[in-house]
């Protein structure tokens, strides 16, 4: 069985981004970019399935600028077998990503697609569910455990009240939550080896998918700032302020 893992190149999670003064977007010049953290978890899960003999091949795919090669190389260094880069001029919306991934799935015929639950730049949390819909497949989102069986998989999901276990038919879409696993670091020899692994380059046009956005971003604003607070010297002072000044207890 092949496992397909879509990985997105995003602003590194440690970077505090700045909104452009003219309100047209976020300033991404000279900002450190990395693989979306949830996608590292998805890659790790796929590699573990291969190591356990439950998958034959792990294919990673990214949609984005030419520099998205870097995150694909990282995934290859972690242990993925080959990579596909679909280059696009502009950032694309989750629905477009899902349509491109559907086209890749039609070519590769994976038994499982593992995505991150959410990209930490757009915070959409949509792509996996949309891909499942377009393929007519089942979905196991926000997964914290995955067990593959014959034709079915058991997925433990992180839900608002705790955990939920469901069974889904294969082929399926799974989206990774934080506690699915702890991704490995790529070793230096594996980073060297990854340079020789195949990386196929395509463009969105090759798949006949329109990348025109459906949503219009009118402007991007700075979030409301909080007024500066004060330090208090003791528990007594804190309680006094909460009662008399803030009136919250």
């Amino acid at each position: 069985m092949k496992v397909l893992v879509p990985v997105k190149r995003v602003v590194d999670y440690n970077v505090k981004i700045r909104v452009k003064a003219d309100g047209t977007g976020v300033d991404l010049a000279n900002v450190k970019m990395s693989m979306n953290p949830f996608d590292e978890i998805a890659v790790e899960e796929a590699i573990r399935l291969k190591e356990a003999g439950k998958a034959d091949e792990v294919i990673v795919v990214s949609i984005g600028p030419a520099q998205a090669q870097d995150v694909l190389r990282t995934a290859l260094a972690m242990g993925a077998d080959r990579a596909i880069l679909i280059t696009t001029e502009c950032p694309v919306e989750p629905l477009t990503v899902a349509k491109l991934l559907k086209a890749v799935a039609a070519q590769e015929e994976p038994g499982l697609v593992i995505l991150g639950k959410q990209a930490i730049d757009d915070d959409s949390n949509q792509t996996g569910q949309m891909l499942a819909a377009l393929l007519g497949w089942s979905q196991g989102t926000f997964a914290s455990a995955l067990e593959l069986g014959e034709g079915r998989a058991k997925v433990t999901r992180e839900v608002d009240g705790g955990l939920q276990a469901i069974e889904i038919a294969l082929p399926a879409i799974v989206t990774a939550d934080l506690r699915l696993n702890e991704p490995r670091y790529a070793s230096l020899p594996n980073i060297m080896k990854a340079k020789k692994k195949p990386l196929d380059q395509k463009s969105a046009e090759d798949f006949g998918v329109s990348t025109a956005p459906r949503l219009k971003v009118l402007r991007v604003e700075e979030p409301a700032a909080r007024a500066a607070g004060v330090k208090v010297g003791s528990v007594g002072e804190l309680l006094d302020k909460l009662k008399t000044e803030a009136g919250v207890i």
């Binding site: 999670y13 505090k16 981004i17 909104v19 976020v26 989750p94 629905l95 899902a98 639950k117 959410q118 930490i120 730049d121 915070d123 959409s124 949509q126 569910q129 949309m130 499942a132 819909a133 377009l134 979905q139 989102t141 926000f142 058991k154 999901r157 992180e158 608002d160 009240g161 705790g162 955990l163 939920q164 276990a165 469901i166 069974e167 889904i168 038919a169 934080l178 506690r179 459906r214 949503l215 219009k216 971003v217 009118l218 402007r219 991007v220 604003e221 979030p223 909080r226 607070g229 004060v230 330090k231 208090v232 003791s234 528990v235 804190l238 302020k241 909460l242 803030a246 919250v248 207890i249």
Partner: protein, 311 residues
Amino acid sequence: MAILLFADHDNGTLSEQTAKALTAALQIGPEVDILIAGKGAAPAAEAAAQLTGVRSVLLAESDALEHRLAEASAALIVGLAAGYDTVLAPATTTGKNVLPRVAALLDVMQISEITEVVSADTFKRPIYAGNAIEVVQSTEAKKVLTVRTAGFAAAAAGAAAAPIKAVEAGTEGAELSSFLENMLSSSDRPELSSAKIIVSGGRALGSEEKFREVINPVADKLGAAVGASRAAVDAGYAPNDFQVGQTGKVVAPDLYVACGISGAIQHLAGMKDSKIIVAINTDEDAPIFQVADYGLVGDLFDVLPELERQL
């Protein structure tokens, strides 16, 4: 301009998130129907019918809908969508699971986690862990939205009951997935998403026992819900559903007390819209103090028991 609100509930009770999402829906337009998908869900439907401003309640019941799994729920909503311009749901784990599937089936781009309704087609939503706010307009004939409920007050209950109409549940999608079990954390404390006061613990708590021993008594005295940072959850000090943050729950209580939490961007994303923030931390330079109204530099193992005594 009719609007379909996919409710969050557990058959027996309607979640407060639904009443909050209704407030957002009513800012978009006046004709709002609430969809209750479930099994044995009449109590939830009756509660929904009493929310002020609801036009009618649609009740669809079947085995496949009992736990609102994505495949059957999305098929149901898509079947009803022709009568609506907007489909929305609170951004609970159920809403986030189901609505993007609906959006793709309708060939629509969803707008996730709106925090403000600017007009019927324009919304504000946070991106980059809330470090930027996008003002986004939909060009689609149909709109599919999830609502970040922390910023909306719950619609009042107790209105004259709106009519409840049964709708055909259908069987589409049911073969794709099945429910096995829920492992829910049970607690007598208020629910995190709707609590007025939250006491949250971080990595500094050091163990599950300490977390319970030190955080819980203060929470109990305050009638507060308990939250946690990702570090505390990952280490097993608190269950996953306690996580507050970019990828956990987003909360905005009257009072949020952060204990031994450094204040990473991802944590702040989930609590920085709280009315009053208190931070207790040994490190006076911890970033959490930058958003705190009241900061107390000190060891939480001294401060929290003292706080409990004085309350």
